[in-house]
Symmetry: C2
Subunit: 259 residues, 2 copies
DNA sequence: ATGCCTTTGTGAACGCGTGCACAAAGATGG
DNA sequence: CCATCTTTGTGCACGCGTTCACAAAGGCAT
């Protein structure tokens, strides 16, 4: 979900499309594209739902927000639906994107082939390290952070990707926003503060793993319920100053490896 | 969210902890760790909520599921809370992880420093490319896919990360599950089917960007509402066989660059 | 043309998640 | 020991999202 401080009332529905539905449209589109390639003319809600990994009723309701694009007794026309969803998602136009922070992750993102395939185009790669300047990554020359504003302005970029260490994320974010960017995909493990009107979505490997660990522990714990608390570090009252030196801070490292 | 076909009734709450709360615990933990490093003894729900980017009432309710760890009139003991959340998330134990698919992304993940910091340890790197076998990535030798089962078994791995191209994802997933893995973090742009009891979480750059594009388009569209549909590719009835050759399939490419 | 069969589109019920607002609890100072 | 002030913990209401279940709609065969 969009983090930061831009809580659109969830009633964000532009023309009435629920946020949850919007999040699933790309899933449907992917499944439909696959069908399209196999030249499948039509598909039923049941089949498509199965391919997308969702409930068929949910899929039908999702599509109902877009309009009545199906034919009762038959199903949906694949090509037509691909077009409608693409249009709804804004994929019929070109979206220049800038990637800031060309470390391991930033480079991997720059090399991501699926980027260009859906209307997204890497307009520029930016990094604060001067020694990277000019060096080509994925066929694109890395530019210095100083060029950020100019690059955004010249290319009319509205979407920025932050792949810097956590410590630099907010600063980069502020500059991107000031330069006119209104949508940010954040890979740094930080909560970004952005002004009203700017969308932020975050991808955080660390969090995903921790959630998995929680469930994993629960699965294992069901068999061994006897293991309660092992050795609490002094209860709240006895606050104490037991400075923890273990578990190094990951708060200053990007979620998926930076520079 | 966990995709695939393992819809736990959302009432997954192990001891009553809502899924939404579990997803926020890592966020709180990160903020608390930062405070801990600055040797801040206690923190109020208001302050911590602000740092984590959430509502203070929500934070208090979240913590209430863990127990009454706060002190009225004072706040929460930072150290104590760090311990409690860590324990709840299962971060007090070691979680060996295997990464399958050592392409751009896989390598970036392997290099991710924050991995080890929170109880996660990269036990092995696996790739189908024989030419990679033995080559060290992030200080760990890459092993061939043939070793998958053995590696999982020998190290007692229960969490697997899939960073392969979409085409190989399901197959890798099946092998991981068969080998005994019960939690999967999927970076490939595919819906994975897994048996009951296996958790799958997915990270998909392509989807995130498309969601941003949707909102971006909406922002721009508010000013220019006159632009309705431009040129639909024939309505459903006139299905036609207008094979789309543009927008290459991204269905066979991993979300964040593979090998 | 008529009836049957398939599949959509959606009304309605339900449950989870969120946020408000306040009572209870504890700390603190006199 | 009491009054006051701060902050937690939570009851309650509201709204979004999900799912069921079915009526309406269209194709197709006879």
């Amino acid at each position: 979900m969009a983090t930061g401080r831009n809580h659109r009332p969830a009633t964000s529905r532009s023309r009435g499309i629920p946020e949850a539905t919007v999040a699933r449209l790309p899933l449907y589109l992917r499944a439909l594209t696959a069908l399209s390639e196999r030249s499948v003319p039509t598909v039923s809600s049941e089949e498509l739902a199965s391919a997308a990994g969702v409930n068929s009723a949910k899929l039908r309701k999702d599509f109902s927000y877009l309009g009545s694009y199906g034919t009762r007794g038959v199903g949906y026309d694949v090509e037509y639906l691909v077009y409608q969803i693409s249009r709804e998602l804004g994929l019929t136009q070109d979206w220049p994107v800038v990637i800031v922070g060309i470390g391991n992750l930033g480079a991997a993102l720059a090399n991501y082939g699926g980027f260009a395939s859906r209307g997204f185009r890497v307009a520029a790669l930016i990094d604060a390290d001067p020694s990277l300047s000019g060096k080509p990554v994925a066929g694109i020359g890395v530019q210095h952070t100083d060029e950020l504003e100019k690059v955004v302005d010249d290319n009319g970029v509205s979407i920025g990707v932050i792949a810097t260490p956590a410590g630099a994320a907010q600063q980069v974010c502020d500059r991107l926003v000031a330069a006119g960017i209104t949508s940010i995909l954040n890979f740094a493990p930080t909560v970004l503060s952005v002004p009203e009107g700017v969308d932020v979505r975050k991808v955080d490997l660390s969090i995903e793993l921790q959630i998995l660990a929680f469930h994993e522990q629960r699965k294992a714990g069901e068999d061994v319920p006897a293991e309660e608390d092992t050795a609490p570090p002094a209860a709240p009252p006895a606050a104490s100053v037991t400075k923890r030196t273990d578990s190094g801070p990951d708060g200053d490292l990007p979620a998926v490896m930076p520079a």
